[in-house]
Amino acid sequence: MSKIICRCEEITEDEIIEAISNGARSVTEIKKFTRAGMGLCQGRTCRKSIERILARETGRKVEDIGISSYRKPVRPTKMGSMK
């Protein structure tokens, strides 16, 4: 079986490559197509690997891929603790 890239969402390298062959060209598009990076850690673990795969598959440099954004809350937050 292909290597798991996003642990939180259990997305494999093959699934990411499939998303690229279906037309995804950025980390955000891969995220939207596969959910990779949308798990509990919000991509802190998997983002770099996704960037590398994308660079490799599309023949670009990692620097040219562009950074994807972090959103609030930066860490999971209990609803009862929000005032």
């Binding site: 279906n22 037309g23 598009e29 939207k32 798990g39 809350p73 999971p76 609803m79 009862g80 929000m82």
Partner: protein, 386 residues
Amino acid sequence: MKTYDAVVIGGGIIGLSCTYYLLKKGKSVCLVEKNEIGSGASGACDDMILLQSKAPGISLELAIESLELYRSLPEDLNMDIGFHTRGGMILIDKCEHIDLMNDYVEKQKHYGLDIKIIDKTEVRKKHPYVKENIIASTFGTKDSQVDPMRVLKAFVKNSSDMGMVLNRGKNITEIEKHSSWWKVRFDDESSVETENIIICAGAWSHEVGKLVEVNIPVTSLKGQILVTEQLPPLGKENIWSSDYIVSKLNPELSEGDSTYKKLGIGLSFSQTEDGNYLIGSTREKGIYDKNTTCKAITILTKQITDFFPILKGVNIIRTFAGFRPLSQDGKPIISEVKGKEGLFVATGHGGDGVALAPITGKLMSQLVCGERPSIPLEALSIDRFG
């Protein structure tokens, strides 16, 4: 230079649906997206195909037809798009809303919707974690949901297979009208020629309209959403509060203090196939700032934990905001542009663009091919704005 039958401007769910249905009719299509697929509202929204929330009339008629198309799309597209019919409930916790909701339900029944009002005991049977002092709820069996990202992905994949040319990450600098065709120029000096142009640029359609000297009265209605960690289901049906309907249809009747009103909050609560709950949402007119605000997050959290106290112990893992394309009268624009042969507009779907995408694409493909649209479109013509 290649000449296309159609250039579709905007790679959201509406532009992609128009592209797909045009390709199915054998047209050649070039899709132009200035950023990424789904970078607009379609990549930052809820997942609901709500019948209950549609104002009786053409909006409801479109929604019913669109739902039918969604049923067969997984097979046509040969992909799982996360389509489910779980039904929906609009929770009523304010006495003053009862009459209004009764009226509303009666009108909707006229259109053949399977919807009724159920009492507190019934409500708590279906949703045992809802708060004690709930008064009643509507209950509809047909409300459905779909995963918008998967729909986007499936449209891109199928359209690519049918020969769609995707022009991504380029800005249009100029659109020139020639005798029976158009020339679209980009900021990298390249250009394409086309017989037809379809503007599906969501909340940015007004800007694109300027390039062809057409007033498209559409602005942003920003919505902020919270995402919870994955949970077991609290109940089957997706949930709205009657405030949602009131703030959508009758904003002046909305309750609460002025920040609350300004944010136009109407609560919606749905579970994705993966188990995350989406909690929405605000309705902020004319705002194009993609940040989420502490104020909105706090109010949404307060509201949902008021309805479902059990959620106090649950984590929010992400928040996001999207810009609904809101037309001047809140209804979609699905229209040709008189006096500009080969120019079409499909936008202004507000908070219903996911639900209405398939029918919009289908109707647009009929308009472009010069066929009679299967639903009369006079009420959605751009001419209505004068």
